[in-house]
């Protein structure tokens, strides 16, 4: 069984949207206090969960056809986006090692696509 390109596209799109969810979760976690109301009425966490749900629907649809061992590693595209958002919104530093990590992940995704043929 090979994995259709449409499944790969759905999983990659879901991953990018999911990385936006991580930004909302992080900004929500920053203002979190150890009370229940602080968690329940945190709109940032709520928006983060909604974004994750949208990403999940695309991910599950993508997963419905094809191989888990090909599709799941494709999620790593999201980490590259997360790095970009972290730099943009949280002023986190992008070091040379991080750029190396990005290069490796991209190379891995390309290899995985080639292995699928």
């Amino acid at each position: 069984m090979t994995t259709p390109a449409s499944s790969i596209a759905l999983v990659l799109t879901g991953s990018v949207i999911g990385s936006v969810g991580a930004v909302f979760l992080k900004s929500g976690a920053l203002v979190l206090r150890p009370t229940l109301s602080s968690v329940v009425f945190n709109w940032r966490l709520g928006l983060g969960i909604l974004t994750y749900m949208l990403s999940s629907v695309l991910f599950v649809k993508g997963m419905s056809n094809g191989e888990l061992s090909v599709l799941f590693p494709m999620v790593s595209l999201g980490y590259i986006c997360t790095l970009a958002w972290s730099r943009l919104f949280f002023q986190e530093v992008i070091t040379r090692a991080k750029i190396m990590g990005i290069g490796l992940i991209l190379a891995g995704i390309v290899c995985l696509s080639l292995a699928n043929k």
């Binding site: 999940s56 991080k98 992940i105 290899c111 292995a115």
Partner: protein, 138 residues
């Protein structure tokens, strides 16, 4: 006195907690692998479904719902960990789950593991490990 709590030196004080947060996320990868297995089992029933049916399926197909419940547990632990670490460090550690998922794909779903696929997954895991490692050093 009022400015002390907002000092940028908090980063140094929190170093131990940041390591602890990374460890929690690393342990969560086993949870993720189990969730992925359940999600794939559930998703297989949606091969001809549209996006709306897929959304409903997440709540009505038992293995799919169970998989996302595990993700829910993971998310609570992850939000807790995020308070003490950088998103760009903690988020990639989750990818340790790729190793477990690759093994489970072969064992449970009998998916083929050609050398290029194994190499590709290894490169991705290495990339993610480099990201995680680099985050602690500026």
């Amino acid at each position: 006195m009022s400015s002390i709590t907002a000092s940028p030196d908090m980063r140094l004080v929190d170093h131990h907690k940041r390591r602890q947060a990374a460890l929690i996320v690393a342990c969560c990868t086993l949870l993720i692998a189990a969730a992925q297995l359940l999600i794939k089992i559930g998703a297989n029933r949606l091969s001809h479904a549209g996006l709306t049916a897929t959304l409903i399926g997440i709540f009505t197909i038992p293995p799919l719902f169970a998989g996302y419940c595990l993700y829910g547990i993971f998310t609570v632990l992850f939000v807790y960990a995020l308070r003490h670490g950088e998103v760009s460090v903690l988020y990639p550690i989750i990818a340790l789950g790729y190793v477990w998922v690759a093994i489970l794909s072969a064992v449970v779903f009998h998916e083929t593991m050609n050398p290029l696929k194994v190499l590709a997954i290894a490169i991705i895991v290495a990339g993610v490990a480099v990201l995680g490692w680099s985050g602690g050093k500026h």
